[in-house]
């Protein structure tokens, strides 16, 4: 098992010679993504403020970059890449399904309450 690591990331675009080298490669990738997030967060470019599917484009970019980071942490630091497919699916799909379900319900409800506050003659600022 010690030498059974898969040493490719980005679908084989980057191949590493050893596991140690792959770890440093992934660190560089994660650092770049974090740096991009921080720079976008500080400067907040006006072009990314457009609304896409109910949220600012910038926020969608943040969320997608976060999921990309989560993918590399799980796949390469937690060695999910080297586990068998069944274990991987058991862990990942269970979590993803339940989390998506929860987020959908709560955000839908939150948005609804907000609309009642705004349009429903409920006074909250007095």
């Amino acid at each position: 098992m010690a030498d059974a690591h898969k040493l490719e990331i980005l679908r084989g675009l980057i191949k590493f010679k050893s596991n140690t080298q792959k770890i440093w490669g992934v660190l560089i990738l994660l650092s770049i993504i974090t740096a991009v997030e921080v720079v976008l967060g500080i400067y907040k470019p006006e072009a990314l403020m457009a609304k896409v599917v109910g949220m600012k484009l910038l926020n969608w970019i943040f969320i997608i970059l976060t999921i990309v980071k989560a993918y590399y942490i799980t796949w390469d630091f937690m060695h999910m890449r080297d586990e068998v497919k069944a274990l991987r699916r058991m862990v990942v799909w269970t979590a993803i399904f339940l989390i998506c379900y929860l987020i959908f319900i709560l955000l839908q409800e939150g948005g609804y309450i907000e609309s009642v506050y705004t349009n429903g003659f409920v006074k909250k600022d007095f």
């Binding site: 098992m1 010690a2 596991n19 140690t20 770890i23 440093w24 660190l27 994660l30 650092s31 974090t34 740096a35 997030e37 921080v38 967060g41 500080i42 403020m49 926020n59 943040f62 969320i63 976060t66 980071k69 989560a70 942490i73 799980t74 390469d76 630091f77 937690m78 060695h79 586990e83 068998v84 069944a86 274990l87 058991m90 862990v91 269970t94 979590a95 339940l98 989390i99 929860l102 987020i103 709560l106 955000l107 409800e109 939150g110 948005g111 309450i113 907000e114 506050y117 705004t118 909250k124 600022d125 007095f126």
Partner: protein, 325 residues
């Protein structure tokens, strides 16, 4: 790879614990299951945060204006410190995975060294978290809470924040804190704020360039600044309590829900980091004592490694939803 449990005499039987379904040892699989359940716990918290935020979408505090400090430096540096914290945690994840890798190759000294660095990284992170909390609790400009629980902040003509303590003028009507010894012995009162609303109002009257900023977000995504007349009127009629800093009851940065979620979620995460550091220390000493060398497998390092990476994983999401989005 050997399992770490003692032999049970049922090896080879399907449910005996000796064989490895999914080619993963018992301990590692259980660690994965624990991580899934813990991930769902954190998602519950973050989704609840999202719920409250969607509920108050037009008045939620802007994180860039809340977390602007760096230790030992004055000035306005949004996000820099928390980016540093993120980097520290990712770095300690890297040293952890290097320790696991060294364990696979049975290099005891390398494992010791990398585990040590991981623990240091964890401690730096927890310390930074504590500092972040301290700064948030202390607050910086102060604000006035209205009767409806909303927050009124002060800004000058150019939109720069003005601190309550810089403008407050004596209102000659000071009341002292009620104590058991000088009033009703069975009634308590919390410590009074350093300033009264009247003092802040007098200060506002005396400083014609100061305006009131409400917590409502306008179309451009900024907080609404009231006109001079509106400012005076709003503070006079609705101001109830001067708030400095944040706690579970009040929050000078905006809705108190923001502070509640901040304390709860980053606190729960910080507690995970702390327990991760404790577990890492235990494993660190086990490695030094040669426990895993004798066992012939460093799988235990791999298992705490999984937990440690998970803590990092959660932070990545907390960072996004508290500081970026």
């Amino acid at each position: 790879m050997d399992t770490t449990v003692a032999n049970t005499g049922t090896e080879g039987k399907t449910w005996g614990g000796g064989n490895e379904p999914l080619k993963s040892s018992y301990g590692k699989m259980m660690m994965w299951f624990f991580i899934v359940s813990d991930a769902l716990t954190f998602s519950g918290f973050l989704a609840a945060y999202g719920f409250s935020r969607f509920k108050f979408i037009d008045s939620w505090p802007i994180a860039d204006e809340v977390f602007t400090h760096i230790p030992f430096f004055h000035g306005n540096y949004p996000m820099i410190y928390v980016a540093f914290m993120t980097f520290v945690l990712i770095m300690s994840s890297v040293t952890m995975v290097l320790a696991v890798d060294a364990g696979h190759h049975m290099k005891k000294n390398k494992v010791i060294w990398y585990m040590f660095l991981t623990i240091i990284g964890g401690l730096i992170f927890v310390g930074s978290q504590a500092w972040e909390w301290g700064t948030f609790i202390k607050g910086d400009y102060g604000a006035v809470q209205t009767k409806g629980g909303n927050i009124l902040q002060l800004v000058d003509n150019e939109g720069h924040r003005v601190a309550v303590r810089d403008i407050a003028l004596d209102a000659h009507g000071e009341r002292v804190q009620h104590e058991r010894k000088n009033g009703l012995w069975f009634v308590d009162e919390a410590v009074l704020p350093s300033y009264t609303v009247d003092e802040v109002y007098n200060g506002l009257v005396a400083n014609p360039n100061v305006l009131v900023r409400t917590q409502t977000i306008n179309e451009e995504g900024h907080k609404t600044v009231l006109s001079r007349e509106e400012s005076l009127k709003q503070l006079k009629n609705n101001g109830k309590l001067v708030v400095e800093g944040a706690n579970l009851h009040v929050n000078e940065y905006g809705t108190s829900l923001f502070a509640d979620f901040f304390f709860f979620i980053t606190g729960f995460h910080g507690f995970h980091v702390f327990s991760g550091v404790v577990i890492n220390i235990i494993i660190f000493f086990n490695v030094i004592l040669g426990t895993y060398e004798r066992r012939g497998s460093y799988e235990m390092v791999e298992k705490v490694g999984l937990y440690w990476h998970f803590v990092d994983l959660v932070w990545v999401f907390v960072f996004t939803f508290f500081y970026l989005v």
